[in-house]
């Protein structure tokens, strides 16, 4: 029995009896579930797609790990890595946008909040876009809009299906109306992809809100989500405070959206790649051209 299994077993028998304070903190070697407090080896957590074996909590993962979970090893060919944000409005709130960009670039090693590329997933070609919440909350500015548009256009030209993993607070205010217009730009590209009879699947992860929800996140032929992910158009605080409405139980969770008919299926992250393989495969049957040739 591995140490991990031992922990998992122990957790099953006494899930609430532990005191998080007494447990080792996140120190690189160990990782503690923020939901149930279960402590596991970090490499075991990674081996389980960063899903807690105790409570099933899906920890936030970065774009690199997400790509590793979806693309076949060595198959991901990144696109448009040279695109970087500029500061078109010379925007400054408490800090300047230029500083915020630099900080996010340094801490993430990314140029902006989305990574795009062509890959294979379970042997099938796929145009893959992955938003990275670490970069200014995954907010959508000109670079995110341009990279996703180019990805979708490339997929239309090559007759590839598109998967976009959403994780975003919405439009990036620091680029003003240029950000809002990215919603239209991406939706226009998706219209052409759809017109070509190709398959588009957004995967909604925690959190997917605002302008992303009001554009490409909700335009999938199939809309998938991760368990318990926060998904919504308006912020909870806005609804609560401005309109003084009480929020129902589980409001704006993936499960809530599924109950109301806006999410096709909630897929556990550990099952995602195999589910995607099935979906891609089925859409390719009966002579459908939804998937490009290898």
């Amino acid at each position: 029995m591995s140490l991990f299994d031992w922990f998992a077993d122990r957790h099953k028998t006494a899930p609430v009896a532990r005191n998080p304070q007494e447990l080792p903190a996140d120190d690189g070697l160990w990782s503690k579930c923020p939901e149930c407090g279960l402590v596991v080896y970090r490499k075991d957590l990674l081996a389980n797609a960063s899903v807690c074996k105790g409570c099933g909590h899906h920890q936030r993962i970065d774009s690199e790990e997400r790509i590793r979970l979806i693309a076949d090893p060595g198959s991901f060919e990144p696109m448009d890595t040279e695109l970087a944000p500029t500061d078109p409005l010379a925007f400054k709130d408490r800090r300047s946008y230029a500083d915020r960009i630099r900080d996010s670039q340094q801490s993430t090693g990314l140029r902006d909040a989305v990574v795009t590329g062509i890959c294979r997933s379970s042997g099938q070609p796929l145009a893959l876009g992955v938003m990275d919440f670490r970069f200014m909350g995954g907010s959508m500015g000109s670079v995110v809009g341009e990279k996703l548009t180019r990805l979708i256009e490339a997929a239309t030209a090559r007759r590839y299906p598109v998967l976009i993993v959403c994780a975003s607070g919405g439009a990036r205010m620091q680029e003003g109306m240029l950000s809002l217009m990215q919603m239209a730009k991406i939706s226009g590209a998706l219209q052409r992809h759809q017109q070509a009879g190709l398959l588009y699947i957004p995967l909604l992860t925690h959190p997917t809100t605002g302008g992303v929800t009001a554009s490409f996140a909700m335009l999938g032929d199939l809309i998938l989500a991760e368990p318990k992910a926060l998904i919504g158009f308006a912020g909870r605080r806005v609804i609560e405070q401005t309109l003084r409405e009480k929020l129902p139980e589980g409001f704006q969770t993936a499960e809530y959206l599924q109950d109301h008919g806006f999410v096709d299926a909630i897929i556990n992250r550990t099952q995602f790649k195999s589910t995607l393989a099935t979906l891609l495969h089925i859409h390719k049957l009966n002579g459908n051209a939804a998937i490009g040739n290898p």
């Binding site: 408490r94 109306m177 240029l178 909700m218 929020l247």
Partner: protein
Amino acid sequence: MARRALLDFEKPLVELEEQIEQIRQLARDSEVDVSQQLLQLETLATRRRQEIFDALSPAQKIQVARHPQRPSTLDYIQVITDEFIELHGDRRGSDDQALVGGIGRIGEQGVVLLGHQKGRDTRENVARNFGMASPGGYRKALRLMEHADKFRLPILSFIDTPGAYAGVLAEEQGQGEAIAVNLREMFRLRVPILATVIGEGGSGGALGIGVADRLLMFEHSVYTVASPEACASILWRDAAKAPVAADALKITGADLLKLGIVDRVLAEPSGGNHAAPLQAAETLKTALLEELTGLRSLSEEQLLEQRYAKYRAMGRFLDCVSPESTLSS
């Protein structure tokens, strides 16, 4: 005419107008000839008003854009069209009063007209939900636009909303999905689409009926990615910084023209559209007919191609392979 609601920066004009009124009163009572003085004062008042409105800050423009007497979608439709029949409902179980539309005729041109609808007073605003459309409103708009597509009627869309309705019911009915579908489908419609920001253009709620071949905007209208109030409370952690945020966000017609987002800014009468609504409607009608004439020379393919290219070019970023080439719209 009902008494005009005054904005704080209009106060200096009030004194002048009161003086003019007093002199008129005097003239009536005493039969003294005051026409010279009146003319002088009226000229002065006109000049002052022009000066004030020429120098409005973005935050002040928001006040004008939100003015309770600013002409609304139905006001413009009434003046612009020779005939108009309002059409109701989204065919999905609702008829949103915050987003109205219908079919109309301008001369011999049939059109579909739609837009956000605010109220004049509290009672009307409650009925109209302050111009904040629900998912049903966006679906009604799409239904009308598809009707326009089927019968080859150009679409005239009027934007005037603080934002799409943010409420529990709106979320349950799929506010995000409703707007998203409109964004995508508006790229498919084979008829000319003209959108005009007549008042407030609030974020996704505005864009949801705003994908267009030509985007027009009145001089004192604003179009924002997020309301300056929300932006200030998030980025400045202080809602009182809204005027600063309004400035930083670049929300005026002049700014958006420079950024390549708006195609044309329409001049307003001195004192704003609410000071002379008929004049504003004439300006709008003339502009819309001009734009329509320009678009009618295009084939359907050209129209769709141009619409795609227009949005495709929006955005500014660096291409780090050749750092000096800042792509822009």
